[in-house]
Amino acid sequence: MSNQSLEQQQQEHLLGYRQLAVVLCLLLLLTVVTVAVSYVDLGFFNVPVALAIACGKVSLVLLFFMHLKYEGAIINISFLSTVLFLVIMIGFTFWDVAFR
């Protein structure tokens, strides 16, 4: 089991305070942007813009706070599969909802 602790040292990446603080600042900035944008009427683009910013924020949380950026293939691939399944759940419902 000695090579397991070796492997562990390689895998467990440590995020510094400064790095985390930068991520937090970006997140807060995006929050301000999304609230500010909501006061402007973009017509059709209201929802896509709000969701795009939300996706950006979520990616930051995932990649750094949840250290997905430093995880192995198993977690990364399975996470993407989960997202894909979620997309299918919502998307395929629209085969019905959008054409009724």
Binding site: F92, W95, D96
Partner: protein
Amino acid sequence: MTAPQSFYHTSSPAGLSGIRAWLLTHDHKRLGLMYLAAVFFWFVLAMVLGLLLRTELMGQGPTIMGPEVYNSMFTLHGVIMIFLFVIPAIPAIFGNFFLPIQLGTDDVFFPRLNLFSWYLFMLGGLFAIVALFAGDGFPDTGWTFYVPFSVEVDSNVGLTVSAAFILGMSSMLTGLNFVTTFHRMRDRSMGLMQIPLFTWSLYATAWVQILATPVISITFVLVMVERILGVGLFDPDKGGDPLLYQHLFWMYSHPAVYIMILPGMGVISEIIPVFSRKSIFGYKAIVWSSMGIAIAGSLVWAHHMYTSGMSDVSVFVFSLLTFLVAIPSAVKVFSWVATMYRGAIEMTPPLLLALIFIYLFTVGGLTGLVLGAVGTNIHVHDTHFVVSHFHFVMFGGTGFAFFAALHFWWPKMFGIMYRFKPAYIGASLTGIGFLFHYVPMLILGLQGMPRRYYDYLPQYETGNFLAGFGGYLLCLGIVIMFVNLLMSFRQQQPAGADPWGATTLEWSVPSPPPLHNFVAPPVVASFPYDFTTVVERAGKGGS
């Protein structure tokens, strides 16, 4: 050589004795047997219920029960069979027992979580029993709990969906445990393409369990919320859309069909090569088809809803996608048949049951295509044809795979061998009874007899009578099989470590296995289904 103590004599955690050694155990083998006991109870109960239902239908008009009781009873039969038998049977019993051994390790990754899952399973069962006797009685909604009826009716829908919620949680955690075990505890010398097919099928199943089960959880939570608060999310009067309930329900319940059948297919993939003394045909194709079924199976849920009033585009798309699922299923069937071709076939009860499985599952799959095609579906939707179809798959498929697994692994789990002759008789009777039971239903369905009806027109009486007759035959066969298995405890005829001449790791350890499964570090074969040494041994007349 001194035989190591079997897991029956060593408790985990150490120092427990008597009943506590079972109820507090972390040992995956004991947990597998505890699931076996619980599942066995539920199976027998639901089988009796099913038989009573068919007895009622044998003659026109009321015979042994009233219409309300009938409605509650088919709901109970469905809920128990689905949530307490078919879904947990193979993964929770044989998966728990054999997945770690096939991977060459000593337990699952989260042993305590495994115990917790068992308690959740028991709690879910307890809820179902309470729902039966408390208050307004068991729901009569059918196991699908369709809104608006399930929201408005007074019976114990709340308790029953909580039961299903808890059972789903148990199934999900078992899947979580299996995936982690698969990745982190596999023997270091075992590559992905050296893993036995049963374990592969459990892995594919586990993913469906993890990703699909939460959908049913939230759906049932919503049913509860609607019953308590009356938000109206599925109530057209309040702006809701009842079809969305059906979408959410089948988003889980269709993939759940693959939770039920994939482990069964894994069992068959183990049994066929062993008794053909021939390497499995298309090992990689079977692995990929398992994953393919898991993926494609999550794309087709709305084929349960063709006549419910969803859009035509949706009907078209989901019908098309449904046909895709047939491909990986057929790959497996062809691989099994090709494995047997020119093999040195040795007939045993597990092989007989596996053959019956292939036959019945194929019928179930082909009738599934009839239902998957929109044109024919509209004709037979919600008729006995559907009932017959899913019993061919669920019972002819998973049920027979369960019986086959019992007969295949019985000597390993208990270290004793049963008698073959009664097993053959029981299996054949079950198979013949099955056909007499369900083929008339296919015909009844085509003639237009609806499902879930208490009474019917005179022209359906012959078919229903025949089906009931077949049902008794079927149950007689099952009883013979079970009694024969139980009799083996009295005969105590010891089975060796490898009574069948099989090659996967579980047969390299003593029967029953010791607490940590392996006496010596496991030797992983470069290919799990290489029978050259087995055949050589037999050629020398070694056994």
